[in-house]
Point group: C2
Chain length 396, copies 2
């Protein structure tokens, strides 16, 4: 919990409320130990057991309506100006706060498009509607999607620095992996090597440990989003690893590709080099187009077309997502206009957004080439936060 | 991820579906790395990135409709019989599965009463309704509250054994704390001592680390649900600690009370002993009444009345909750009939339920006396799983 960071993001939220013409942002939760609204750690900094309302108004006021047993904790956390403790039920106190501000538009955390703006469970939604049913506020709820998207997407300098630190530490580990890879070691061996480093250095995993890192060696691997297997590294394999850490609350998410030399080889076969280079170049081409105001699908299209024009299948996922406090941070996504991505490929890119760029292609008979870099959107383009991989790494 | 345990709980879920006359249980999720339905680790055993449906039918079939990139992972996890991967959108494949079974009642995870049965976010609910809108299934959704409550509440022998192991390890740590406590040490010192042990031994915390353990020394402390402070232990303080670990996927949650002797004292003052003993005895009285068929509020009432009859204020919370894969597990709660607890104090106690019993009272001028034990409901009563604290521990 970094109090200064939370207060800075609350202040930014107030600016966004004014920009989007929304009077109040209401984060309504309970039992966050069981299921946690993803916005809690960015704007509250602690959990809640009983029904609780964390309220930010466009006037800049912050009010927490919470169970009385959590009053002392909330005070010591110190992120909300007004703390309203209740003993038996939240309704009366919550309505008093609403009546004080009489908001015309109240954003709450539900969204079909963004899981990060969708922390309000359906049961809590029904509970909230029950509380509001005899008031005018019941018809004034709107999705907080735009607020969450802007607040998470527009990284401030401290956030960018934190992500940068996570990237630097992650790339060090990739270098160590290059030294560790050898014929006969399994995907699981490699994953264990990486996980031990993460634990020794006191980092967290950017996503669930069973798939972090994900390691794939050779042709016919399990493919993305799968855990490492007992499959062993062999000469002629293309290896790739998808890995990220969480460090001081912010994540990295990177991929690198290696080739395992066969006896007598001093470099990768031409077909492997070609595949790798197509991926590498598609990233640069996409990054050149990435700037504020562009739509995510336009950027995805650049890399996707370049890859298919070079005779490879298109990758079965989006080109890149935002990273932040979680590995898959959002709003805007550099993704294709597919049903499963909803409206998020249509959200304009903004200054301060931090994106991965991670195309992939299959090199028949060898394995999967994939590189994942991280870039930061500036006023008129983007900057690489990771030092790009320019050549396929060789394993002797 | 323990595959055998998941298959055992799925089997139990099928029995419960038949008992409750529900045709299908549909767990509908996405981006579980950002917000995770609390049922996922009990009945699925892995996460999901894209919209995914995990379906259990009363006939005993299990089907996972998932994004194609996660097919290999789902196969390797091996907890679902049928795996239906989709590329661009879930709708078509999900409707095919529904049409195959034509369920009349479909339980989904929303609940006003139980956070553990409320993993469906409101945005995902809207998405699901959009998918179902032109089908008869849209009017066939019911809350999975009863299923979740029974499935989590009715512990099988393996689960009881796991909780027992967590309790044994936790009580060892409490013993070590007794040796560590001394005048001049702060609440934070004690918490750090405990956290280091937890990490050394490879346990997880049963709840968020900032409040696990919670340590309170002396009068006028921050009270429950607050993190440890710089407040120092002094002679004449009553100290209590609330602490639990997660060990092999199951939690403990226990509290113990100490008294810090003043110079010349060889035992605690009478008023302290009286307060402690009232708590101790209230637990035994409540446990005597605890058996299948009782309602939670009836058990809460026993301890609450005994404490107020002895001249103390009633505790501002429920007497006890269930423990399991999370520290606050449920269904049924041994809680008072207060608005904030909804219907859960009215759910009948069942065989196999594992409850904490944790009353508290304030000993004026000394601190808070609180003991938390864990009991397991049997055919005709309950058994203590923790060895009860019978006398206040003394710190010299």
């Amino acid at each position: 919990m970094n109090k200064e960071m939370i207060l800075a993001k609350q202040k930014q939220a107030v600016e966004i409320l004014n920009e989007k013409d929304i009077d109040m942002w209401l984060t309504f939760v309970r039992e966050t130990g069981n299921i946690q609204d993803p916005m809690m750690d960015m704007i509250v900094g602690t959990g809640a057991t009983w029904h609780s309302a964390f309220i930010i108004t466009r006037s800049g006021d912050t009010t927490a309506v919470i169970g009385s047993l959590e009053e002392a904790n909330m005070k010591s956390v110190g992120t909300f100006q007004n703390i309203v403790p209740y003993l038996k039920g939240i309704k009366e106190d919550l309505l008093k706060v609403l009546d004080k501000y009489q908001p015309n538009k109240i954003a709450v955390n539900y969204s079909r498009n963004s899981s990060l703006a969708d922390g309000l469970t359906h049961g809590c939604y029904l509970e909230l509607m029950e509380i509001l049913k005899d008031t005018p506020y019941k018809d004034r709820l709107v999705s907080s999607e735009d607020i969450v998207s802007a607040l998470r997407g527009r990284k401030n300098q401290i956030e960018v620095d934190q992500i940068k630190s996570a990237i630097v530490e992650t790339l060090k580990i990739f270098d160590e992996v290059t030294g560790f890879l050898a014929v006969g070691k399994s995907e699981k061996d490699v994953a264990e090597f990486v996980r031990n480093i993460v634990k020794e250095r006191g980092f967290e995993f950017a996503w669930d440990e069973e798939h972090c890192p994900a390691v794939f060696t050779g042709p016919d691997t399990a493919g993305a989003h799968s855990g490492p297997t007992d499959r062993k590294i062999e000469p002629g394999h293309v290896i790739n690893m998808d890995f990220g850490i969480k460090y001081n609350g912010y994540c990295s998410d990177l991929q690198r590709t290696w080739y395992v030399l066969k006896e007598g080889e001093t470099e990768a076969p031409e077909t492997v080099i070609k595949g790798f280079n197509v991926i590498r170049d598609s990233i640069q081409l996409a990054a050149k187009e990435l700037k504020p105001g562009k739509l995510g699908w336009e950027i995805d299209n650049v890399a996707r077309n370049y890859i298919t024009e070079n005779g490879y299948d298109e990758y079965p996922h989006g080109l890149g997502h935002q990273v932040g406090r979680v590995a898959h941070d959002g709003g805007a996504l550099l993704g294709p206009r597919w049903e499963r991505y909803g409206n998020i490929p249509y959200i304009p890119v903004e200054v301060g957004n931090v994106f991965t760029i991670e195309p992939r292609l299959t090199i028949d008979g060898y394995g999967i080439a994939t590189i994942e870099e991280i870039v930061w959107v500036t006023e008129d383009g983007c900057e690489f936060m990771s030092t790009p991989q320019t050549e396929i790494y060789l394993v002797k």
